[in-house]
Assembly symmetry: C2
Homo-oligomer: 470 residues x 2
């Protein structure tokens, strides 16, 4: 780790410090929205935790020195040599807020190799390369902190590591992508189409020019992989995470869902497949999980149904705790900077206890991510859930009976059937099923597609399963 010797005369003196005058030197990689918010927060310490006075912005790595900046930094702090920051013996904590996979990943790995602690907001890198990053960090005896990677400023990563760790987590159900929640909220409120709202969201800066990562559920997939890994104490292979986005959510389905008492939300879900049967041995074993992202019909009375706009919320169902929910801004410079700086503070606090200076000391077991086994992820065909499906049928009389027969022969039991709409001379039938194995449901659908009366099946959506926490 970075030497603390010779730090008695920090470049910048931060008011009066009680006790040892030692600043923790922070090397910041990136000065975009989050980086700028982080600098602003570190420069404005009045009325915040007193430990913040011991944090020093030592270097800030940027692409261009000439670009106008919203923050003032003393001469010599800005540099285009990011490599030099992660290898500088003076730097103790490297904060990566570059975003994107490279050079972020390589710089994080190099920082760790130089025994720096790392704070990152980069869910994409952590979800993809968490295994090598945490292996390296644990070997080097440094922390990699990621509060800002999920839920913006909402404290959820540290509570999962610390306070919720004594629980067996049954399920984590989250609205963790603000862009898609904003789009769905507006589609719901205004009756507009996905394409129209997306175009407007892009104009307003709520959606990227290339919206793929958000609207196809990939960003939410990265985040639920990270949450699942922390909640279940095992690594997650990202390709095992099923991701379905909101492009196919139509106004027609939003209206039907509303009539049936549901709201459509893009949910990121991680759940234990056998929540009621923990292993008899006292050794913690990685459970079989379902980890997935998809648009979901949820009852209007569900706590997540009232999370609107760009807000995020994460509902944790745990034993013996019960249901807890965390709600707040999922993005934005201030919120994300709050999470980044709280991570820096958490590392500084542990370093201040001096523990890494002793021979026998180990990494703080509630800050470090030391699990190495991979979680077993169940295939989607094994998922037990409810479904919503919308059929267009040519041949009105008798078709419901035929649908019911096909479903029944595959063990799919129907909770409700609505047959109201007429659309281009076709009748519209909407069904909601009880809990069913996803594989069985798809087999029934394959059979239904063969029926002559069926014109098409424009929508298939999942409905939140019956039973809380399962």
């Amino acid at each position: 780790m970075a030497s603390r010797v010779g730090n008695a005369h920090p470049t910048i003196v931060f008011g009066e410090l009680s006790g040892k005058v030692v600043a923790f030197k922070v090397g910041l990689l990136g000065l975009g929205t989050v980086g700028t918010g982080t600098v602003q927060l570190l420069q404005d310490r009045a009325g915040r935790h007193s430990l913040m006075q011991e944090l020093e912005i030592y270097r800030v790595g940027v692409r261009s020195l000439d670009k106008p900046r919203a923050v003032n930094l003393p001469d010599g702090i800005l540099t285009t040599d990011l490599q030099a920051i992660v290898s500088d013996p003076e730097v103790e904590i490297v904060v990566e807020v570059l975003g994107g996979l490279e050079p972020a990943r390589s710089l994080i790995m190099e920082a760790i190799a130089h025994h720096k602690h790392v704070v990152t907001a980069n869910k994409a890198v952590i979800a993809r390369y968490g295994n090598e990053i945490f292996d390296a960090a644990n070997a080097a005896g440094v922390y990699v902190m990621l509060e800002a990677a999920v839920g913006g400023g909402i404290p959820v990563i540290q509570p999962l590591k610390q306070t919720l760790g004594v629980n067996r987590i049954h399920a984590i159900t989250g609205i963790v992508n603000g862009t898609t929640n904003y789009i769905l909220t507006r589609m719901q409120a205004e009756g507009s189409s996905f394409d129209d709202v997306l175009a407007d969201a892009q104009k307003l800066g709520y959606a990227e020019a290339d919206p793929t990562a958000d609207v196809d559920g990939l960003d939410a997939g990265d985040k639920i992989a990270i949450l699942a890994s922390l909640a279940y104490g095992g690594r997650i292979k990202l390709p095992d995470v099923y991701c379905e986005g909101i492009r196919q959510v139509s106004q027609t389905d939003i209206a039907y869902a509303h009539k049936l008492g549901f709201t459509i939300k893009l949910l990121a879900i991680a759940q234990r497949e056998t929540p009621s049967a923990p292993s008899a041995s006292s050794a913690p074993s990685a459970p079989l999980l379902s980890v997935r992202v998809h648009p979901t019909l949820i009852p209007q009375s569900h706590p997540l149904a009232s999370i609107h706009g760009v807000y995020n919320a994460i509902l944790v169902e745990a034993e013996p705790l019960g249901q807890v929910m965390f709600f707040g801004p999922g993005a934005g410079a201030g919120a994300t900077a709050s999470a980044v700086v709280s991570d820096i503070l958490n590392v500084a606090a542990v370093l201040k206890t001096g523990h890494l200076e002793t021979e026998s000391a180990s990494l703080h077991p509630l800050l470090a991510c030391t699990h190495q086994d991979y979680c077993a992820i169940a295939p989607m065909s094994e998922l037990v859930t409810r479904f919503y499906a919308r059929f267009l049928t040519k041949d009105h009389p008798g078709v419901i009976g035929k649908l019911g027969t096909c479903f029944g022969s595959h063990g799919v039991s129907l909770e409700s059937v609505v047959q109201t709409g007429i659309h281009k001379h076709l009748a519209e039938i909407v069904v909601v099923t009880h809990n069913v194995r996803e594989g069985d449901f798809h087999q029934a659908l394959a059979e239904i597609r063969q029926l002559e009366a069926i014109d098409s099946i424009p929508s298939i959506l999942r409905v939140l399963e019956e039973g809380s926490g399962e």
Copy 2:
């Protein structure tokens, strides 16, 4: 602190431990609901954080050895000598779940004097004696942890200490007493009276035989004092906390509030009186606060309006974070045990880093409560808020004009006036004001009481102020 020497052969061996086989010996004071939940959680470690395997239930102090218990403990663990537990050199962490002021307070003080770390769920003791307890703990170099004291199992204390500490907290607004929220929820849903619902809640075990602490807002007062102290980094004198309970909330007012778009909740509020003007100096200074508990009309769209039954929720408004809300079960054996054991784990984790074994080490600055200054609390007369008031008037015509004149002469501006009800030959007038200084409002009321047309003023309630977070 308790010696770790000689712990190599713990009484109970907890499966295979990696590295050093050292158990953290826990002395539990109390085996009531929360104590029993704590033992059950500590005895059932599969699928929870692996560090739990290093916690050992070493002694459990109870009043009677003969009482039947819901948990099995090895011989010699149960004892009626609580004094012996807090002074036992083997015990490293004392968990106080006795409740009540004495002997809880004295045992906590003695445990600290014997260099034990303390975990407590006792909001009454902490709110009253926090000053002497934290002084003693800081002098002895031990931690006093209190996650279970507020919000049951909801992680809110640690997030306030750690993740939110980098923020300037503008306001904390909480539903922190499950009993009163249960009563108000049922009054709202059923149209029943306070007395009827209270009697039923007592039968169902949701309210104590002596409901004073809950229904008069005292329990919520203890809790908001604790939250304010952590959020603002200063001590709170409990008598400075204004507490008004829900006994006077009538069905008539609930109905009027509903018509006006409000829900009545017992809110515990701590807010910075000058949120937009932090001091220019970088030294953190204790801000002027308003800390109070009272029934409050909140807009039906407010996040706290949909918190029903015994659930708790805490809304934090902070800069630069924005609004975050924590929601979950505010009581119950499992939820509270979750918080208690997470505190034990947090202490064990810090001890495991070995920091207190080094000369230069200090207490972990995000776990310890080291602030010593007292917060300045503004008197209620200085509060700026909105009011709801219901008047019974004898003399219908012209009375609204007279009311308006009295209010106007004290700078009270009215947002709405409703004049509909007839009650025993008296007209009923309900007003909601804009933001007003509480002292000015009461001066206007004193004048209004002198009006011949006024029969009585049955209800005066506060309405959540205009503007978010102020």
